[in-house]
């Protein structure tokens, strides 16, 4: 049976303005999680009922812990950012790992282009750590970069910033063009406009593209139908043209869903 676990906050660091890296204890999540899966984190304030979905950025099965990297976006993430690391009184309730994750095993041996935009970069880091020399990463930022130096040596990293402060000026698409990048398959996570642009480029190049979607969640396990996206085909379980981001997703083949 799956459990809601109370996870101790082992460390918490602000790695860039309003962006935090947090390690949480959980042997089960550390062992089971696959890149692209997420956890649902519950606020300690009982007036905030719904879970905050956060991608798993890294796992450490030997130490029994996993890492989240999140941006302060509202009251819930602000609360997480204000916790004290170490103290057992500052445990967070977490359910996970949830969702499907990127198809790393299925696409094994192929050259994978990882495309991450902003707070969509953390799951790309976990993909890169598994794929190593099979991966290439393109990371898009508004201005200041984060996590880029943590990508493995073997994985080439290309950067795009909107203000041109580092790497290519513009979007991830500009960086892909400037560096004439290509691949056998693309894994992407980031804001919707970025996902649209990347999947349009992928379609033109004839490269299959997997995208990780965001939607508001209530149950996080497939029961409430709050988190659906439109799909191009009839879903076998739902029997309508929708997919549950929390269960069938968050990762979909770009041609499978309406972006």
């Amino acid at each position: 049976m799956m459990l809601k676990e109370s996870c101790t906050v082992l460390s918490l660091d602000e790695i860039e303005e309003d962006i935090y890296s947090m390690w949480l204890s959980s042997q089960a999540i550390a062992e089971e999680a696959r890149p692209g899966q997420f956890v649902n984190v519950y606020s300690r304030d009982r007036s905030r009922l719904l879970p905050r979905p956060i991608s798993i950025c890294e796992t450490d099965p030997a130490q029994g812990c996993f890492r989240l990297v999140f941006r302060v976006a509202g009251a819930g993430t602000r609360e997480f950012a204000s916790l004290q690391a170490g103290a057992h009184t500052n445990a967070l309730d977490v359910i996970g790992p949830l969702g499907n994750g990127f198809p790393l095993a299925e696409e094994k041996g192929k050259r994978v282009l990882l495309v991450g935009g902003g707070i969509g970069i953390p799951p790309m880091l976990s993909c890169a750590k598994v794929l190593q020399e099979d991966a290439m990463a393109v990371l898009g930022y508004r201005s200041r970069a984060f996590l880029q130096e943590e990508f493995p040596q073997a994985c080439p990293v290309f950067i795009a910033t909107e203000d041109g402060s580092s790497g290519s000026k513009g979007t991830v698409i500009d960086a892909i063009r400037e560096n004439s990048l290509t691949a056998d398959v693309i894994f992407a996570c980031g804001p919707k406009p970025m996902l649209r642009a990347v999947s349009a480029w992928a379609a033109k190049e004839g490269i299959p593209c997997f995208v990780s979607l965001e939607e508001r969640m209530a149950c996080g396990i497939g029961a409430c139908l709050g988190c659906v996206c439109d799909s191009n085909t009839l879903d076998r379980h739902l029997n309508v043209c929708k997919k549950r981001v929390c269960l069938e997703g968050p990762v979909f083949l770009s041609t499978e869903v309406k972006l």
């Binding site: 809601k4 719904l50 029997n239």
Partner: protein
């Protein structure tokens, strides 16, 4: 802990609230469904419904708004897949029925008459669909009509699920009873709205949504009390129950059974904790049987 609803015995008075628990499959990873008094399924219609666009949910202080729009796979898939799934467990099966018209409600009820389900819950109170749903629950004539028609075709006892978005709940409860409803359940969600002040737009694609969760509990207790004291048929109380004490309030207000919805989102084990908590309360208060705390006010 046993209670009786329209001649059907439940092992305890705690059931799931429709739409918050699917058909039980997803939550069965967390909860032993055989511990529950009953599983009430998501609303099911004669053909598949796609529901509303997203965003469909938004958090509010101690609550949430939802505008799912009764997405469901339709009665055929439901009968082939979900009923056999639920039959594996030692619990009662209550099917929540929705439709756009009188005919559609009756078609679903008729289709279910051959199926091994224990009760039907007729949802005349969904605030999130344009036709049907709440329109039937707010107009006493339409409400009476639907109860009469469904009662004609249904083989199982029927529960009428009432909307709190009315001025006089007693009148609606009486109308349902007069036409032969075997029980009533309330409250469905309260219609609400959330505005994103920075985008100057509605948060929900549907603009309005149904409010649920702890914030509606006092309203629900009041309405359950009023309904239970105006009819003789059993009342199922729901709305914001998240701990055993909330459920006990509902029972004391007059409910013969309770349903738990939004609380499962925050804690998938909420249902089991509530069942255990009621039992502990009875023990600690020296109460012999659950009936001794039902409708004591």
């Amino acid at each position: 802990m046993q209670v009786k609803l329209a001649g059907i015995e439940l092992k305890n008075p705690v059931m799931t609230a429709s739409g918050t628990f699917g058909s039980g499959q997803e939550y069965s990873r967390f909860v032993n469904l055989s511990h529950l008094g009953a599983v009430v399924t998501k609303g099911v219609s004669i053909v598949p419904w796609s529901g509303n666009q997203t965003p469909r949910i938004v958090e509010t202080p101690s609550g949430m708004l939802n505008a799912i729009g009764l997405q469901n796979p339709g009665i055929d898939v439901f009968c082939e897949r979900d009923i056999p799934f639920l039959r594996q467990f030692d619990t009662r099966i209550i099917v929540n029925v929705c439709g756009h018209s009188m005919v559609e409600y009756c078609e679903v009820a008729e289709r279910l008459s051959m199926e091994p389900v224990d009760l039907l819950e007729i949802n005349v109170s969904c605030p999130n669909v344009k036709e049907g749903g709440i329109a039937f629950g707010q107009d006493p004539k339409a409400l009476a009509g639907i109860v009469r028609q469904v009662k004609r075709v249904a083989r199982q006892p029927i529960i009428i699920k009432l909307s709190p978005n009315v001025t006089d709940i007693k009148e609606k409860a009486k109308a349902a009873e007069a036409e032969g409803a075997d029980a009533i359940s309330l409250i469905n969600t309260l219609t609400g709205m959330k505005i994103d002040i920075y985008r100057r737009g509605f948060v929900l694609a549907n603009r309005t949504g149904g409010l649920s969760g702890p914030c509606i509990h006092p309203v629900a207790v009041r309405m359950v009390y009023e309904a239970a004291h105006s009819v003789d048929i059993p009342v199922i109380g729901m709305g914001g129950i998240s701990v055993a004490e909330d459920a006990i309030e509902m029972l004391m207000a007059g409910a013969s059974a309770v349903a738990v919805g939004t609380a499962s989102f925050r804690d998938p084990l909420a249902l089991e904790r509530i069942i255990d908590g009621i039992e502990e309360f009875l023990d600690s208060q020296g109460v012999e049987q659950i009936q001794d705390i039902i409708k004591v006010l």
